[in-house]
């Protein structure tokens, strides 16, 4: 079976600085793969490269064998590779439910003009979006805040909302940007659970970038570790934990790498 996502020799240079250098790895359908690395290792850049928010200097990203790395971000999303952002990136002056409903855009069968004149298809679409939004609200446990304005939400809920927005697009692969950042142990465990359910119940392949080692060890099927823009290790959590290069990269924080 071909991997759902193939990252092939991808490189990104900003002037003289090489942020990501010749990184390759595959993501298999239905797995949870984490990209880890110390601060400034190039994780975020890699993330932007995969979602095509920045163009690669060289190399390519394939989704189900089709090249996506030179497409516009909305085209990549259309194909089913959707990224989430860190918490501040939401539609601030919409309610939680409105945020989720508007994000169903890719599922529209009616045209924009159809929506304008209110065709039967458009009404069916809107009804389907509303139902699906409620479904997502239930899935993420956001019932209590569904009609709250997004700008009034605390951090934890914002993260969940970001995920809800991603889910609304009906992704095949979801890219999560530091889903556990700034969370305490309990919140992290809840989020770990949620990410698992995303894969188990919705069949979404998950690629995440994260700092939180214990969470990463717990959640991932496989881990890719990068440092100074280069891939230094790839393997199961157990292999990564025992990898000398990884321990070295996290210099002085061996205990963090060993984690749980």
């Amino acid at each position: 079976m071909t991997p759902i996502l193939q990252i092939k020799n991808i490189t990104k240079r900003y002037g003289g600085l090489t942020a990501v250098n010749d990184v390759s790895f595959d993501v298999n359908k239905g797995e949870i793969l984490s990209v880890i690395g110390p601060n400034g290792a190039g994780k975020s850049t890699l993330f932007k490269l995969i979602s095509s928010f920045v163009p690669a200097t060289s190399g390519e990203v394939l989704f189900n064998g089709t090249r996506i790395s030179s497409l516009a971000p909305h085209k990549v999303a259309q194909m089913g590779v959707v990224r989430t952002f860190q918490e501040t990136t939401i539609f601030r002056s919409m309610t939680v439910r409105e945020n989720i409903i508007v994000s169903h855009h890719l599922r529209s069968k009616a045209s924009l003009f159809g929506f304008f004149i209110g065709t039967k298809q458009a009404k069916e679409d809107e009804a389907a979006f509303a139902a699906s939004a409620d479904n997502i609200v239930d899935f993420l446990g956001l019932q209590a805040i569904r009609n709250e304005l997004a700008s009034n939400l605390p951090q934890g809920h914002l993260r969940a909302l970001g995920m809800a927005i991603g889910l609304a697009t009906d992704p095949k692969v979801i890219l999560l940007d530091e889903p556990f950042a700034g969370m305490n142990h309990d919140e992290t465990m809840k989020m770990v659970n949620l990410v698992r359910r995303l894969r188990d119940e919705r069949g979404v392949t998950v690629l995440l970038v994260e700092h939180d080692m214990p969470a990463v060890m717990k959640i991932s099927d496989r881990i890719v570790c990068i440092n100074f823009g280069q891939k230094i290790a790839e393997g199961t959590p157990k292999e990564i934990r025992e990898n000398d290069k990884v321990i070295e990269a996290y210099l002085g924080s061996e205990d963090a790498a060993i984690g749980m």
């Binding site: 952002f85 939401i90 002056s93 508007v102 924009l112 927005i165 991603g166």
Partner: protein
């Protein structure tokens, strides 16, 4: 809720088509027809500016499209003998077309950078009108014939304005009808998915792209609709004034279009309509203050922005939440 809206709409129709004419014939202030016609047409242009605000762009270039629309209609009427009623949508479409060409590069800009470029557009339009042979330079085009009859399948829908005993009333009715259609379209846009996507664009373009919205296309679409409104407003203006000059719409007019939106409220569809009415009449009323007119006017504007940053219509919201 829907019944309430219908009632509101009926009340509005009653005011503009019954009370206003009654008031004017009672007081004999026939010049109000001209003032209100201007308000209605300016608010059509302001509706377009409002839509560009709705996608998160500050548009200070509506004067350019009004001018272009005016010239397109006028030239078609005077040189090609096309019926005014046909030139009205053509002027709008022409403006929409050039706004796509112009918008393609400039809509990538955000914030003050986009605003500055649009500000320049008005000046470019004025200078082009001065320089091009077809626009007759600074002398402009005058003695434009009044709109003729509009008939469909032999049925007269709009009589020729020349045959009316009082063309001022005719223009007033025509302008108000145009305004109503414009705002119904705008209202429908805002309350359909198209408007929701525009809002998503206004609040976060990156996130909007990540949920699969073709942001570049949507920006162009909104800008084209905006310019269409500007074009038909300009065409109608030229026809009423029966003349058009390069200085018919200048930078100050573009700025005013924007102020109408600010004053009424950027979050309310009918904001620009109210804003135009208040500002246009407010300016006229202040003429009694003579040389202090501009000072008072600017002072009040600054005060309003401080006290009511979300526009005059935000007063209604507060009342509702208190009740």
């Amino acid at each position: 809720m829907n019944a309430k809206k219908l009632m509101g709409f009926a009340a509005f129709l009653l005011v503009v088509f019954v009370f206003v004419p009654m008031f004017i014939s009672a007081t004999g202030r026939w010049d109000f027809y001209y003032t209100l016609t201007s308000v209605a047409l300016l608010s059509v242009g302001a509706a377009g500016v409002w839509l560009t605000f709705y996608i998160g762009r500050i548009n200070i270039g509506q004067g350019a499209y009004a001018l272009v629309g005016g010239y397109v209609s006028t030239i078609l009427v005077t040189q090609a003998g096309v019926s005014f009623w046909l030139t009205l949508p053509l002027a709008g479409l022409f403006c929409a077309f050039i706004s796509v060409l112009i918008g393609f590069p400039i809509l990538r800009l955000r914030g003050v950078y986009f605003a500055m470029v649009t500000l320049v557009l008005t000046e470019v339009a004025r200078l082009s009108a001065l320089a091009l042979p077809i626009t007759n330079g600074a002398k402009g085009i005058t003695s434009i014939p009044q709109p003729g009859e509009l008939s469909l399948f032999g049925l007269t829908i709009i009589p020729a304005f020349g045959s009316l005993s009082n063309p001022r009333v005719g223009f007033y009715v025509m302008a108000v009808v145009l305004m109503i259609i414009t705002y119904l379209v705008l209202w429908r846009i805002v309350n359909s998915r198209l408007g929701h996507l525009c809002r998503s664009l206004q609040q976060n373009e990156e996130l909007s792209a990540s949920i699969g919205v073709n942001t570049a296309y949507l920006r162009l679409l909104a800008y084209a609709i905006s310019s269409f409104f500007g074009g038909i407003a300009g065409a109608m203006f030229a026809s009423i004034a029966q003349s058009i000059y390069p200085s018919s719409f200048v930078v100050a007019d573009s700025v005013n279009f924007m102020l109408y939106c600010f004053l009424g409220g950027l979050g309310y569809v009918f904001g620009p309509m109210l804003g135009t009415l208040l500002l246009y009449f407010g300016w006229d009323l202040l003429s009694i203050a003579k040389e202090y007119q501009l000072l008072i006017y600017s002072g009040v504007m600054i005060l309003l922005m401080l006290v009511l940053p979300n526009g005059v219509l935000s007063l209604l919201d507060k009342k509702e939440s208190r009740a």
